[in-house]
């Protein structure tokens, strides 16, 4: 009897009233009905009704979900392939069908179909091409033939409206799809081919081989203003020369679609997000309010490779390890690509309120432009720590600001790695301000390098040299 992939009664069709419970909304002779039937038969033959999700498009086949007794989702115009991908990834074992017309697929949804096809994820796309917009009332479709008169090409389609889109060829030209064929419905032989193609496109998905695409040249007698018989003839005689039938791509691809079930295992999740139970040791006895009462504001500034952001993050880690609150906000975007790179850091006894550092208590400047730019903002009584290897002729513009020049670059170079000059800077910060005990910084450095243990001794040395150099500075 009837294909079981169809609902026993079309209750969604005008609430199943009267005859509508068992007839479609399509015009007499419309090609959509045939495409539906062959799809339904293939679903039955493959025994996949329970696993199938059909995505209804916008267009005449918008009500696909009236008919198919499968999971149904109705999509926005042109977006069915993206919706289908969402379903397929939600349940990789489901069989997902994106059924679309020409306006939907070849016009408004071009980006979605092309990108989805290229992904190659096994879904099945049934593309019904009848060269016209049906639902909106006979306007020009991307597949409308040259010279064809429509409501929006009343004098016939001419060149500047674009040539008809050959979607099967376009999709077959991509690497993603495994199978692409164009079929038609105008005689028993073509219908038989159409049936087989739809079956194969679904089977490829069942066998996890890849993305399949079947373009069905279909009749829209209504907007061709023709009888169904004339419409069949028109497809054969007018459409075929533009849209040649046949297999456009058929690759042998081994089954590959295999996705594990997501894990929610506590240990794995915690490991991935980097959570640990180990408490960092604390060395501070109280908040370093000698630097600033209960919220210390710092700025670190240099050029891209100076490591200002890393040093800033280490200060934040050090502060949080000590049980304080701390924040870091980088200057980001094009600004951070070359040129100056600067970071605002706060360490607060309870809570950082304003994370920006417009007038910092401490400025660490890795180069001259940074010092010139931010030096004047340092609040009276604050400290400026700068790389005296590169900043040689700086005259303090502000009285009451402590200037600590440390040859960060030279020390780092002597240690064999210029990269560690930011760690030298942290040593200098420690010695110049006493913000945290040495061990606080060293612990933060060691924890940050726990996966690169070999780097720890060099960084420790850099830190110690920074401390030493800053301690020897006579403050002007």
């Amino acid at each position: 009897m009837t294909t079981s992939a169809f609902y026993g009664k079309f209750e969604r069709h005008s609430h199943g009233e009267g005859l509508k419970g068992h007839s479609t909304h399509y015009c007499p002779g419309c090609g959509h009905g045939l495409a539906h039937k062959y799809l339904g038969e293939a679903i039955d033959e493959l025994g996949i009704q329970d696993k199938t999700v059909a995505v209804s498009p916008v267009g005449c086949s918008v009500f696909l979900y009236y008919y198919f007794d499968v999971g149904n989702t109705q999509a926005a115009h042109g977006r069915a392939p993206a919706v289908a991908i969402g379903h397929k990834l939600a349940n990789p074992e489901s069989i997902v069908i994106s059924y679309q017309g020409d306006g939907d697929l070849a016009s408004i949804g071009l980006a979605e179909i092309v990108s989805t096809a290229q992904m190659g994820i096994p879904i099945t796309v049934i593309f019904v091409n009848n060269a016209i917009y049906g639902m909106t009332g006979g306007q020009m479709a991307p597949t409308t033939l040259m010279g064809q008169r429509t409501a929006t090409s009343p004098d016939g389609r001419v060149e500047f409206m674009g040539q008809p889109m050959k979607m099967a060829e376009l999709i077959a030209g991509l690497d993603g799809p495994v199978y692409v064929e164009r079929v038609a419905l105008f005689n028993p032989k073509q219908r038989n081919r159409a049936k087989k193609a739809i079956h194969k496109a679904l089977q490829n998905q069942v066998e996890k081989r890849g993305f399949s695409f079947v373009e069905v040249l279909a009749e829209c007698p209504t907007h061709l203003k023709a009888t169904p018989e004339q419409a069949e003839k028109w497809v054969e005689e007018a459409m075929l020369p533009m849209f040649p039938l046949g297999v456009k791509k058929d690759e042998t691809r081994e089954p590959w679609w295999d996705r594990p079930a997501p894990t929610f295992e506590t240990e794995r999740v915690l490991k991935e997000i980097g959570a640990g139970e180990e408490k960092a040791p604390r060395y501070c006895t109280s908040f370093p309010s000698h630097v600033a009462k209960n919220d210390i504001s710092l700025k670190l500034a240099g050029s891209g490779g100076d490591g200002a952001q890393t040093a800033a993050m280490l200060i934040v880690h050090a502060g949080i390890n000590e049980g304080f609150d701390a924040t870091h906000i980088p200057a980001y975007g094009p600004e951070s690509r070359g040129g100056t790179s600067y970071a605002d850091v706060h360490v607060a006894a309870d809570e950082v309120l304003s994370p920006a550092s417009p007038s910092p208590d401490v400025l660490i400047a890795f180069n001259m432009p940074s010092l010139v730019k931010f030096g004047p903002d340092v609040r009276p009584g604050g400290t400026i720590i700068y790389d005296s290897s590169v900043i040689t002729d700086y005259t303090p513009v502000k009285s009451g600001v402590k200037m600590v020049g440390v040859p960060m670059s030279e020390i780092a170079k002597d240690l064999g790695k210029l990269m560690v000059k930011n760690i030298v800077a942290l040593g200098a910060l420690q010695a110049a301000t006493g913000i945290f005990p040495k061990e606080t910084f060293l612990t933060a450095v060691r924890r940050a390098l726990k996966d690169k243990c070999a780097m720890i001794p060099l960084n420790e040395q850099a830190f110690e040299w920074g401390v030493k150099a800053a301690s020897e500075v006579t403050v002007p």
């Binding site: 007839s23 009905g33 696993k51 919706v83 997501p262 950082v352 309120l353 920006a356």
Partner: protein
């Protein structure tokens, strides 16, 4: 193998023949001809079958576009007299009633706090809330969230997919959320604009999903610095139609995590998208983030179109063709929006006796909080009213602190979009007596500074700054 003549022959109930004639040319034996009488029930002219020469080849059946059109003749001899409902079935489907597979809440051991960027904290929150499907399109300043998801999802056997655009992104979420899974994206203002079409569909079809909009400067390309200028879009402009969604406004990396977890709970509770409106500054800010006490292992809700027998009956759609049906549906949605009012959330800082009420959310709220401290130290009774949901606006909490307020100052990085929400909420609550609303506003990536807020408040109080 049955003999040829045993192959079942076709029949059609006249009321299910649309008279298209496609079967006529399909028959090699010329058994089918166009009828001459209009069927009174359909107004169409069905075909007439003369099966004398019929060999049961079935080509006519393959040519009939109607699922209940030409059929193989059933064994039952009386079929033609039967009611079509009985012949073809009077039930829509034999699929079982859908079932709920409930979520599980799994306790976590006590962990040390993490040090995370706001965007990372939100991603971690999503993972702990059971999200294993991320769809997105990179856009500054939200990319770190997507990048962390790209790194971690494969390790947790989840999905990270970079879509061709924000339009595709939201539609992948529509499919994935429609299948009952927890999906999300990170985006920023221009990208969020592109997602609005899909968000309207999600609201109409009751599909959950979490959108983290790390707001940046606009209009147009604007810049990538922090702004709060999508508050209007989030609260009043979620695509076409009568739409609303809960909009959460974090102001610390900790809240980026906490509110993302909350967002997943709410999006499934209400079957409605949830938006987290963050700002570019907060997305980039690193801070201390404590982990929750549990994580969620999600189930599959009973309404989902998951692609299995248990959920075969379901439909995700926002179409209601008849005006009456669509009005009814809007009534249902409006009632749902009304029920979301219980989700109003606000954080009140020194508001109890506050005579100057600062209203701010996101990063400007931190600035305002600092200003409150300074103002208090100068003897000015200031307080911060910080909406954590800008929709629904926490009017109930605002009501409690309004009686003392002599001044209201909205501090925001937009042209009054938060202020508008305050005013709409006051109007809807029929509150007409309140101090004139003043403001400190900045745009284009410039954030209000603490000094400006202090100046604004204190100048009126004749305090020298």
């Amino acid at each position: 193998m049955p003999a040829l003549k045993e192959r079942p022959k076709p029949f059609v109930l006249p009321e299910f023949c649309k008279g298209c004639g496609r079967c006529i040319s399909a028959c090699p034996k010329h058994c089918i001809s166009m009828g001459t009488e209009i069927n009174p029930k359909t107004g169409l002219t069905p075909i007439v079958l003369d099966l004398t020469n019929c060999n049961g080849c079935g080509l006519c059946i393959d040519a009939c576009p109607e699922p209940y059109g030409l059929q193989q003749t059933p064994a039952d001899a009386d079929y033609e007299l039967q009611d079509p409902a009985k012949l073809f079935g009077d039930r829509m489907t034999d699929a079982p009633e859908p079932v709920d597979i409930p979520d599980q809440v799994v306790p976590l051991p006590k962990m040390e706090p993490l040090v995370l960027k706001g965007n990372y904290a939100a991603a971690v929150g999503a993972l702990l809330a059971g999200c294993r499907h991320f769809f997105g399109y990179p856009i500054t300043p939200s990319t770190e969230g997507a990048e962390l998801m790209a790194k971690l999802m494969p390790h947790l056997d989840g999905t990270f997919l970079q879509a061709v655009s924000e339009v595709a992104t939201v539609n992948m979420m529509y499919g994935c959320g429609g299948a009952g899974m927890r999906s999300m994206t990170f985006t920023s203002s221009p990208g969020f604009s592109l997602m609005l079409e899909g968000i309207s569909y999600m609201i109409g079809a009751e599909v959950p999903g979490v959108f983290i909009n790390v707001m940046r400067g606009g209009p147009g390309l604007g810049n990538i610095a922090p702004e709060q200028s999508d508050i209007k879009l989030c609260c009043r402009g979620l695509g076409h139609g009568n739409t609303h969604a809960i909009v959460l406004t974090p102001s610390t990396p900790q809240e980026m995590l906490d509110l993302t977890m909350l967002a997943f709970e709410l999006t499934f509770k209400y079957r409605n998208p949830v938006v987290i409106a963050s700002d570019g500054y907060l997305g980039q800010m690193t801070g201390k983030v404590s982990l929750p006490e549990s994580l969620v292992k999600p189930g599959i809700p009973k309404w989902a179109v998951y692609g299995d027998l248990e959920h075969r009956r379901n439909l995700i759609s926002s179409i209601y063709l008849s005006e009456v049906d669509l009005e009814k549906w809007n009534v249902v949605l409006n009632a749902k929006y009304a029920s979301m009012q219980v989700e109003q959330r606000a954080d009140l800082y020194m508001c109890d006796d506050a005579e100057v009420l600062l209203v701010a959310c996101n990063t400007p709220a931190r600035t305002a909080k600092g200003a409150v401290q300074v103002l208090r130290s100068r003897g000015i009774k200031a307080g911060l009213f910080r909406p954590v949901t800008v929709w629904p606006f926490p009017i109930e909490k605002l009501k409690t602190v309004l009686p003392n307020a002599k001044r209201i100052v909205v501090v925001e990085a937009s042209n009054g979009q938060l202020e508008d929400e305050v005013k709409i909420a006051l109007a809807n609550a029929r509150i007409r007596e309140y101090p004139e609303i003043e403001h400190v506003r900045h745009f284009g990536g410039v954030l209000p500074q603490m000094e400006e807020v202090i100046l604004k408040v204190a100048a009126g109080q004749e305090v020298t700054v």
